[in-house]
Each structure stands twice: as structure tokens, then as C-alpha cells.
């Protein structure tokens, strides 16, 4: 009798049991499956639109006195600033490594998720945009990793030098080897080429990539590879879709942060919004822009007051218009790339045209005297100086240093003088490549960089 009752009981409970156990344990949790879910993942701008920034700390844009450095809590910041051989001192805090790889992970989750969705006719455009965005973000992350953790690109050695691990799957169990530098750049360019076909011309907010952003990034990548003719073509493609400039004469210089907020689409120059990782270095009150560079702005140059705070000299010209430092893509950079490429390719008038087109919007109305220099080297030097000035604190200088150091005409030795001892970083020093965090080496079994 007992058995019969029990059997009945169990059958009864089992019937309702399946639905009963389907309840999600937390209403806020989702297994991302829909296009909207994928969109939500890519919209996580705090994760997706952050850019490694150690290059800014190690570069020649800022100066910080010892007392300011002493107050920084993360040793990698101090160690990067002084080009120490050991950056981490046993710690694992390394946002320059983890931030882009988190972007890669999100991009891979989305790419794999999209493969499982067969879009209906009405969803096709959104599916394309999401796939293009994910490819863009992955390329964006790989590019930044290569700037920090791999050597500068050189066609002659790219097949022999180490690249960065190219994680192409979300599964956490798959391991990626470092591969060659050539493979790294090929993957970046391949992803971006596909992205340019999938992305729409315009997106709702600048944190979402659009076609001009993909062309812009291709231009930047090829420019860093010294592939100037191609870089010029991509800059051209980006500018063909979007070439507005912000007239600095219309910007209110009395504001604490004068630049119009790019997230509100108020800055017409912005192709893609991203910001530098928020290291303590940037929020210190003892951070000073390089004095020589700051002084190189002429009296009628509006950037003097729009970029640098009166009195303190603090950099306030970030294109975000907020506390975060802009490190995305904008038309000013495209014009400078196209101008530099033209100068290098012997097309002086083209180079001058782009340079003057940009600079006229940076000076007080009616006071700008167009550049007329046609001697190739002098013109190139002028363009490179304007590149330093206009793209100040945008996260591109470290890559420029690595690229230009290969050319003896532009090679530069950097100096720091924390105490009696003078530290220097000569051109092409092995310390232009950051060391990989120790927990990656322990867990991932990849080769460390020699610094």
C-alpha cells in the first residue's frame, strides 16, 4: 500500500516539476540570445570604450614631480613613468592588459551569439550592425594590445617578432598562442575590412562604431604600420563619410571643461568615442603637460586656453567634455594622417591643404596665416608637431614615438629626473614594449617580453 501511495505522489509532483524548475533564480539575469541582448552587451561603454593608457604615462606628454608619483597607489603607474624593468612587483593589477581582453571576450560572446540567430528580414540591418560592431571592438582591442605588449610594426621583421594572443573564441578553456606580429596585424585588418562592409554610416551615439570609425581605425592601424599610401586611402574613406570640424572659435573657454560633450553628438569631429583607462596619474593634481609643448601654442591659437586651464596649466581640452580623457577617433586625426601621408608621398599641396583646413578652425577668427612650407622635410616636421599638439593626451603618442624612432631623422630620447639620477629611454629601447602580467604567463603559458 505504501508503495502505491508513494508512486502516485511522485508522479503528481513530477508532472508539475518541470515548469516549476524553469523559473529564473534572478529576474535581472539573462542568457544573452536575442539581438537586443547582444546590443546590451556592446553598449557597456565602461567596458567596451576604455583604452589602455600606460603609453601616456611612459611617453613625453606629461611631467609629474616625485611627490605626485609618491601619492599614486598602483605601482605600475610609477614604474611605467620611470620605465622600470619590473612593472608589477608581484601584483596583478594590469588594466592595460585586462581591459582590451575583456572587450575581446564580449566581442566573441556577441559574434558567437549572432551565429546562432537567423535574422528575419527586418532584423538584417541590426544583425549586420552588431556583427560589424563586435568585429570593430575586437580589432580595436587587439590594436591597443599590440601597441603596448608587442614591438612596433616593421614589415621586415613582422614575421619573426611575437604578436599578442589572438583570442577568437569566448570559451574560457581555449588558449591562444602569441603568434607573429604579422598575424596580429592581419587579424586586425581582416576584422576591420569586414566591419566596414557591415556597419551603417551613422549610429545613435558615438560610443557605437559606424562606418567612418572602422575606416578611421584602418587608417590609424596602417599609419602605425608605416603603410602610408593605404593609410591615406582609409583616412580619405573616413573623411568622405564625415569630415566636419569643430570651429574652436565657437567654444566657450570659461567652462571648467570647455569642449562640447561628444556623447551628446555635440562635437562634430568625433567618429568614435573612447576614453583612457582612469589611472590615478590622470586625476592627480600634480600632473603637468610637457612645458615645451604647451608653450609651442601661439598666442592667437585658441587651443592655448581651450586645452590648458588658466593658472594650473591642467589639460582640459578632452573631447568628451567630461572628466574622462578622450582617446577615440576624430576627423582632426584623419586630416593629420592624410596630410602626413601626402607629405611623405611627395604630394605637398595635398598635405598643406589638409593641414590648413584643420588649423584654420583652431585659431582666432581672421588671425590664421596658412602654412606655405613646401620643403618636404620641413613640411613633415611641421605636420608632426601639429599632430603632437592637436592629438595631445589622446593615447596616440606612444605609438608615434615607436614609429618615428625607427627613422633617425625623428628619433627621440626621453628623460626623467626623479632625483639626482637622470633616467633615459633611448629610441627603440626594449622598454617600449611592456611586460605581460605575471598571472597571464603563469596561467596562459605564453612567452614574456624581455625588457
Amino acid at each position: 500500500m505504501k508503495k502505491r501511495y508513494l508512486a502516485m505522489l511522485m508522479a503528481l509532483v513530477n508532472l508539475g516539476c518541470q515548469d516549476y524548475l524553469q523559473q529564473k533564480p534572478d529576474k535581472a539575469l539573462v542568457v544573452p540570445t536575442s539581438l537586443a541582448d547582444m546590443n546590451d552587451l556592446l553598449n557597456n561603454s565602461a567596458y567596451m570604450n576604455d583604452v589602455p593608457a600606460l603609453g601616456v604615462l611612459g611617453g613625453d606628454e606629461y611631467y609629474m614631480p616625485q611627490s605626485g608619483l609618491d601619492a599614486l597607489t598602483n605601482q605600475i603607474e610609477r614604474n611605467t613613468y620611470f620605465w622600470a624593468k619590473d612593472l608589477y612587483e608581484g601584483t596583478t593589477f594590469a588594466p592595460d592588459w585586462t581591459t582590451p581582453y575583456r572587450q575581446v571576450f564580449y566581442a566573441n560572446v556577441v559574434l558567437e551569439g549572432l551565429e546562432k540567430i537567423t535574422p528575419q528580414q527586418t532584423q538584417r540591418a541590426e544583425w549586420d550592425r552588431l556583427k560589424g560592431s563586435a568585429l570593430f571592438f575586437r580589432a580595436w582591442a587587439f590594436y591597443h594590445l599590440a601597441q603596448g605588449f608587442a614591438a612596433a610594426y616593421d614589415q621586415a621583421t613582422a614575421e619573426k617578432l611575437l604578436g599578442i594572443p589572438l583570442k577568437l573564441q569566448a570559451d574560457i578553456n581555449t588558449k591562444a598562442p602569441r603568434g607573429t606580429l604579422q598575424q596580429t596585424y592581419e587579424r586586425i585588418n581582416q576584422d576591420l575590412a569586414l566591419a566596414t562592409r557591415l556597419l551603417p554610416v551613422k549610429t545613435a551615439v558615438p560610443t557605437q562604431p559606424a562606418k567612418p570609425a572602422a575606416y578611421g581605425l584602418l587608417a590609424r592601424v596602417h599609419h602605425s604600420m608605416e603603410a602610408y599610401p593605404v593609410a591615406a586611402l582609409y583616412a580619405d574613406s573616413a573623411l568622405a563619410l564625415k569630415d566636419q570640424l569643430l570651429d574652436y572659435g565657437t567654444v566657450d573657454s570659461t567652462l571648467a571643461r570647455p569642449m562640447p560633450r561628444s556623447i551628446l553628438n555635440a562635437n562634430p569631429e568625433v567618429l568614435f568615442q573612447a576614453t583612457l583607462v582612469k589611472y590615478g596619474f590622470f586625476s592627480s593634481s600634480l600632473i603637468y603637460p610637457d612645458t615645451v609643448l604647451a608653450r609651442s601654442f601661439e598666442a592667437n591659437d585658441l587651443r592655448r586656453s581651450l586645452f590648458f586651464q588658466k593658472g594650473t596649466g591642467r589639460f582640459i581640452g578632452t573631447y568628451t567634455g567630461t572628466a574622462a580623457l578622450f582617446a577615440g577617433l576624430a576627423t582632426d586625426e584623419m586630416l593629420l594622417i592624410r596630410s602626413e601621408c601626402a607629405a611623405r608621398l611627395g604630394q605637398e599641396s595635398k598635405a598643406l591643404g589638409d593641414l590648413n583646413k584643420l588649423l584654420v578652425t583652431r585659431y582666432k577668427k581672421g588671425t590664421y596665416k596658412p602654412v606655405t612650407e613646401t620643403r618636404p622635410l620641413q613640411l613633415l616636421e611641421l605636420i608632426l608637431l601639429e599632430r603632437r599638439k592637436q592629438l595631445f593626451s589622446r593615447g596616440v603618442r606612444w605609438t608615434d614615438l615607436r614609429r618615428l624612432n625607427k627613422d633617425p631623422r625623428f628619433a627621440k630620447t626621453l628623460y626623467r629626473k626623479p632625483s639626482a639620477e637622470l633616467l633615459e629611454l633611448s629610441a627603440n629601447d626594449s622598454r617600449y614594449v611592456l611586460s605581460i602580467p605575471e598571472n597571464e604567463i603563469l596561467g596562459g603559458g605564453i612567452e614574456q617580453n624581455v625588457r
Partner: protein
Amino acid sequence: MKKTILLSILLSVLTGYVFAQKRMEGTVLSASDEQPLAGAVVSVKDKQSGTVCDENGKFSLTVPDTAATLVISYIGYLTRQVKASRSGPLTIALEPNPSELSEVVVSTGYQQIPAERATGSFAFADNKLLSRRVSPDVLTRISDVVPGVIFNKGRSSALRIRGQSTIFAQADPLIVIDNFPYEGDINSINPNDIESITVLKDAAAASIWGARAGNGVIVITTKKGSFKKPVQLSFNSNVTLGASPDLYYQPLMSGAEYAGIETSLFKTGYFKADETSVNKVALSPVVELLIKNRDGQLSDSELTSQIAALSAHDFRRDLSRYVYRRSVNQQYALSLSSGTEHQKLLVSLGHDRNLNPLVGNAYQRTSLHVNNTLQLLENRLRITAGLYYSNSSQDNNGTDRFMLNNNLIYPYARLADEAGKPLALPRDVRSSVISQASAQGLLPWEYVPLDELELADNRSTLTDYRLNADVSYRVGQALTFQGLYQYGVENNSSRNMQSRQSYFARDFVNRFTQVNADGSLTRNLPYGDILDQGESAALSHSARLQGSYAKSWKQHHRIDAIAGSEIRSRARKANSTRHYGYNDDYASFIPVDYVRQFPNYINGFNSVIPNMDSFSETFDRFVSFYGNAAYSFKNRYTLSASGRLDKSNLFGVATNQKGVPLFSVGSSWEISQEKFYQWKAMPYLRVRATAGYNGNIDKTVSAYTTARSGYTDIESGLPYAQIVNPPNPKLRWEKIRMINVGVDFANINRRLSGSVEYFSKKGIDLIGSAQVPPSVGVSTFRGNNAATKGSGFDLVLNSQNITGVFQWDTHLLVSHAKDQVSHYDIKATSLAYTQGGDNMSSGALPMEGRPLMAVYAYRFEGLDPEKGNPVGFLNGAPSQAYSSILSTTKPEDLVYYGPARPTLFGSVRNQFSYRGFSLSAMLNFRAGYYFRRNSIRYGLNSGLASQHGDYGMRWQKPGDETRTNVPSVPQTGLTARDNFYLFSQALVQKADHIRLKDVQLSYDFTRRQLGKLPLRSLQLYAYGDNLGVIWKAAKTSLDPDYAYAVYVPPRTLSIGLRADF
């Protein structure tokens, strides 16, 4: 079913006529206390028929003829024979068997098992033992009185049963109150309502709880009243006074030392960053004086004398006077019980009122417990209904954390002047900004901590109630069906009214104030109170249907079995809100714009008004099937088996993988009943052994990629989602295999009795948080990638040293539990191992082959005699290259000390009684582990942030290295030097110690002394707790279990009385 019953009644009546059969009914009681003996066996001599007494000791049985003899037996009692010729209901009293242990009935939450027949490992604490201790909560009352259970005091995860065999999943034991798991706040339970607590320690004991039993189970049974008892009123009340906390427990830098550091840092320009910061942060009074001096507004001599005057003060004096106090806990409990033949009732009321050591913090709890049981249809039908209601509230108005720019405030701070007038302290904003703001018409910006204490109005309340129904119906002699249902509600609400006069509100409003060109003010955040409220409600339903079967035959055979199914759900809804511009008089508020960005008064940067509103809804669902059977032969051999299948809504795992079947088997053998057993000195000896699997759940992981959605990007305003769990298709539930072997023994007259148990545990498929290579894209990842093993023993020894008018009993508990990580793939950096796993860290960092929580350190070679730098070890030689030591020392080259948790622990309780007096003192001991103490971290500011008192003992001149291990102040701040020293051998010590835990003294008045008072009994008692460490292995002023605490739990003294009317 009705038909079946009718039929059987009819049959028995008929057969009675035909064969002269006789129906016998009766009750079996214990002769000593007249309590019914549930489970006593009544059988017919030389026949196969027999029955088992129900919960009330009742039996009914058909005998073949009146000449038959009934044999009534029960473990622990002498067997009796009764002639069936007697008429009318029988009352049979059994005499206790002096050669056997007293009867203990343990509860698994599913059934009651006499300890004598249990094969598993149970630990039991009865009401008497539980009331020995005075405490506002239930759980601490079992500490040191049951074997194998330890409260790791001063550590992040406290209560452990036989060590820990999970790494990241829930490691706390399952708590069961009156048959169902309890997931609310255990502190809401009034300890005076508890009848007994059973701790289920091994697989056989706990496997009935299946997937949640891996950490052991604590089964709490509330008081129920008894049948056939006249009305009784009981009263218990006590008051507990606690000493004021000793704030001088941890060494702290003196005010003069601190001011000295400030002065020398000032010279190096350290405070320049703060002085020029865009956030215009607050500076300490000494730094303000130094600035004045630098700017020529203060002479050097004035500076020296003013600093000397300021820094002579010790902040701890103010803390003791204004912030801390003696704690006072009051407890009152009143209960009424009555029982007739068919009904028993218990009503109890409790009220607790505690004033915490922190001024402004208080706790109060009121509880009501009603339990009513009816027995109908000749006691075949039993209906129990219960209500447990508890309402408690906690005031959180006090604080002992006073900050200056998010650092600990300087040690010469003052809360009030000599006359007791509250003083302002610098906190976030510099005094110059405060005066500028007040000149511009902003709200006063001063921070006066003692005024804040007055204004604080922060209370959280918890209302918890459970309604229980339990219906059981006995069919025939052996089979009983039981249905149980429980409805539970936990309502939490918190209300933090931050008055408009509070610093919090004024500071907030000021930061969002804009000064317009014409000097007028725009308040973008309305001036008013800021009201934070939170509410959560958890509703739970639990239902169980169970069949139980108990039958014995041929005198020697007995079977007890249960089987059933259970369904449980718990839904929790929570929300929290903040209202700005609140007005408590009108209960009104002013809406604000959460979208627009407003400039900050101090730095001009734009920000939005923080929106603190949130909602959440979670669900836990379980469906379980279980069964358990025990067979005994001749009361000598017992075999038991138990199995359970659990299913839950574990997120993302396909339904077919949701379930986990778990089982156990056990057996016991009472050797002393065998004929060959000749050991006269030990008349009772029993061995038992069990093996089986329990489970454990980690609901935070999932096999699929899961993301948390519902966020809004503060910049773009777009919704976004965050991945909380990377994909892991191989996820399984954790399993814990356990083997337990035990021996129970007692000598003649039970002068000496006890048990020894050995156990071994194996954690399989444990969920480990892997420190995956960061290129994976997640910082941590959890999967079934770990295994642990553990073993140990529990020894219980009870001895009656002296009996008679003067009585002396000793109770000894010794437990050993060690664990080891047997499999863990991931290696971390050496620094991570030294920092994880001890009392500082919240989580474990497992290393294969080592205990789950272990203490590691860098090799320390003393201080360098030239500069006082700490010396480490690198590449086979002493070294001061700290960053290389930290980054290149391999984890296996660290000095391994041992476990960070006690592996050997126990207690000795001596109880003396003479006439009405009783004195009981408990010593407890903890051994086999290590601790790391704190010391000065110089950081980037010569130790200002740390303020540790070791600063005074630092190396200052050559030669000091012989008397101290505290390094000198470094020339430039080096995090690596600090990290090396703080995690070196210099600070690790053995933690073994013995503590005088508590002493209890009581006096019971005799009937004669009570005279004409309307009292049945009266007891007065006194109880002292936390009496102190009496021995420790390490030479240290610290208490090894509270190495990082600001102060050790103060001593308390309670006095109270118990009376029955």
C-alpha cells in the same frame, strides 16, 4: 482507505469472537520521570506479532489469548513482562537500565531516532545544556558543548562542522528549524524557545538533506509542551553587563609621532598635492599650521607650541568617553504550557533589549511562539499547528569610523572640548572652502561628529513569522502518513533618515549648489532631509508528504523506514529608494532631475544627482524525493540506508542535469550484547560505521553565458548588460564523500562514558574560482575544477568524578579536523598566497597539497644594520630587492607555516554541585594553526594611513636591529618593501591558546525554602563570558583569534532568575 480501516476493524471484531483474541491497549512510560517512551517495542512472547509505541508511548495490539505474555522493551530500560489477562488500558512503567546510557532522541528534521539506534554521527545538545549559557542568540550556545563544531571567531566565515570541504560555494551548515530549512536571520530566533539542537555531522546523518547537507546540518527543535501536564507558567529573565571595549588593545601611533611624520612629510612637499587639489580636500590641523608657518603667518615657536598642544591629545580617550559604553543586554522570557490527554499547548513570549557597546546602536526583539497539538480518533490522528513570530529592530546610529579624506582620522583628533562641547573635525573639504562657502550663503559645512550622533536616525527592522501545520494519521499498527506545510515570511525594512541638519545632507546640497553671476544661489539638489529606505520580503512555502513505517516482529526484528517528497520555494522581492528634499513633518519630498549634469561647487566638474533606486526579485525552488530505512536485529545489529534526489532551478543548467542523487549506508553493532563479550569494566560497547555522499550548491554559477541586464549607461543613457558568468558547459554540482567510524562506550554505572569517531571527507567536483589568465576576458572563473580531502576525529568523554551530595562531573570534547586541497590547477603569484587565506582575507586561495586556509610568508632575514631595511632572500642570498623578491619568489618557495584555522580544538567543562548550588566552568582550546599580526605599513606617507603603533618600535639607529623587527621609515615610499615586510616571517606566530570561556553559578531553592510562595521552583544564576585567554603559545599581547580586531569582545557578566509557577 476508509473502507480498509472499517474492514480491518470489522475483521478484528469478528476474529475476536471466533478465536477468543483480545485487543490490548496501553501506555509505556519511563518509571523515572513518567515521560512516554516513543518507539518502545511491545510484543507477544514466543509469537511473531508485535508493535511499536507511538509518540505518546501508546500502543494497541491483538493477543491470541488471555494467557499470552506481553514483552515490553526499550533501549536503555529494563525489559518487562506483563500478563495479557489484565483488563483495561495498561500503564507500563519501565525502569531505566543502570548499565546503559540515558536515552537521547536525535532529530534529523525528518524523523526522531533514538541515539542508540543511530548509525550516523549526531551531536546533541538538550535544553539544559543550551540554557547554561546566556546569549541573545541560539547558535553560539552550541559552541564548545558539541563535538566537531567550531566558531572561527574573528574570521570571515565563522561556523564550521568538521572543517570545510567546499571552496567557494556556500560553506555554512544548513539550518533546520522544526522540520524545514531556515533561511532567514537566525538571530531572530529566541533561544528560550529552543528545546534541543541536533548537529548532523556525517553522510548517514545528513544525507537525508541531500544536496544541501555537504557542510553538515543543524537541526533546531522548538519547545512543544507535553500531554497530561497541569498548567505551568515559567519565567526566565537575565541582565548582562559588558565591559567597555578596550581601545588600547591594538598598538596605535601616538599623536606626537603622527604630527612628527606630518611635519617631515610637509618639508618634502607631500601635502602639496592635497593643498592644490581641485577637490580642495580637507587637511589636518597640523598641516594647516605648517602651511601658515610656511606662508609667514605663524612664527616657528608658535608653530612648535601649537603642534605640541594639539598632538598631546589621545583620540581614544574621546572614543571611550563619547563613542563607546558598557553594553547592557536584558532578556525576558515567559511561557505557559498545559496538556490534557488529547491536547497540548505551549505559548511563549520573549523580549530582548540590548544596548550595544557603540553609543547609538541598540537591538530589541520580541517573539511569540504558539504550538498546539490535538490527538483524535484514538490517537491515530494528530494535528499540530504552530506559529512563530519575531519582530526585531536594530538602531545603527553609532559609528567609530571617523575619516579624513577617506583615511583614518589623525590620532590626536578631539570630539569635544574640556567642557564637553562638541567640536568640529575636518573631513572632506578644507576649512578655507568652508568659510568661503558660508560667506557666499551656502549651508554650514562643518562636521561635528557628536552632533551627527544625535541627528542619526537609522533603523532596520525585521519581522519574521512562520506558520506550521503538521497532520499525521496512523493506518494500522505500522504505517503513518504525514503531511507538513510551512508558510514563512521575512520582512526586512530599513529607514535611514539623514536630517537636513546632518553633515551628509548639508555636504550633498552644497556640492550641488551653483553660485550665479549676481551672487544668488541655485540649489540643484533641494535642501531637505535625505531619506533612504529599503524593503525586502521573502515568502517561502514548504510542503512535505511522508510515509513512515515502523514494525517489529519475532521480538528480534525491527524496521523503521520513511519515504517522501518535498517541495520548497522561496521568492524574495526587494527594493530600495532614496528621496531628496524630504520633509519628515509633512512626509513630502521634492523630485529631482537625475538626467541633467550639474557643476560641482568645489571643482566645477559636471555630475548627475545619484539615483539610489533599485529593485530585485529572486527565486529559489527545490523539488526533492527521499527515503531512509533502518533495520535492527536483536537491538544489537542495525543497518541503515538513505537516499535523496534533489532538483532545483539552478540557472542555465538543462533540466536533466538539475538533479543530483545522493545516498548513504550505515551499520552499527552493540558488541557488549554478544555472549562472547566478557569485558566487565565496560558493560556497554558499540561500534558503528557509515559512508555516503552529500551535496552542495553554488547558485552563482551557470553553464551558460549569463548576463545581468537592466543597467543604464550614465553617459549615453542606453541600456546595457554585464556578463556575470562566462560559458561553461561542463558545470556539475559539488559532492562530498564522507566515511565515519565510531565507538560508543560506558563503564559500570556510567561513571565514565563517551564516544570516539573518526571521519574522512573528500570533496569532489568542487567549484573553484580559477584565476584564469586574464586574456580569457574575465577576472575570475568558477567551475568544477577543485577537490579537497579531509579527516579528523571527535572524542567525547563524560566522567562522574564524585557522586553523592557533592557531585563533580567533567565533560571533555576534543575534535580534530584538517583539510587539504588535493586538486587545484591554478597557480597564483606568491604575493597573492601570502595575502589570501588568513584572517585578513575574505576568500581562500587554494594551493595543491596545502590546507584550504593556510599561512605563508616570505623568508625574513632580520633588519639590515646600516639602514634598518628588512632583508629578504633571493636566489640563495639575502636581498633587499623587494620587488624582485615579490615577483620572482615561487609559491612553493614561500615559508609554509600551517593552517590558518584551528585543526585541534575542544573544551573541558567541570561541573560541581552541592545541594542547591551548581558551579560550572568551561575552558576551551584551539591549536594547530597560525596567525599573522598587523604592523606598520609605511606606504607613501611614512605610515600616516596605517597609524600602527609598531612605528614607535621601528629601527632608528644602527644597533636597533637587535631589539626590533620593525623596519625604518623608508626614504621614498616603496609598496614592495611594505608588502615584503608585512607578509614576511617577521609577523607570523603560532595561534594555539587556551581560554577561560565562561563560568556559570546557580542556586536552586528547595521546596522548603520556597515555603508558601506560589512557586514550584526557583533558580538564581550568574554567568560570566569572554573571561580571557589563560595561555597562548605566542609571546604577544594580542588575542590570536582577534589579531586584527580593534578590540576583543569585552567580558560580560549576567545575572538572572528562572521560576516555575
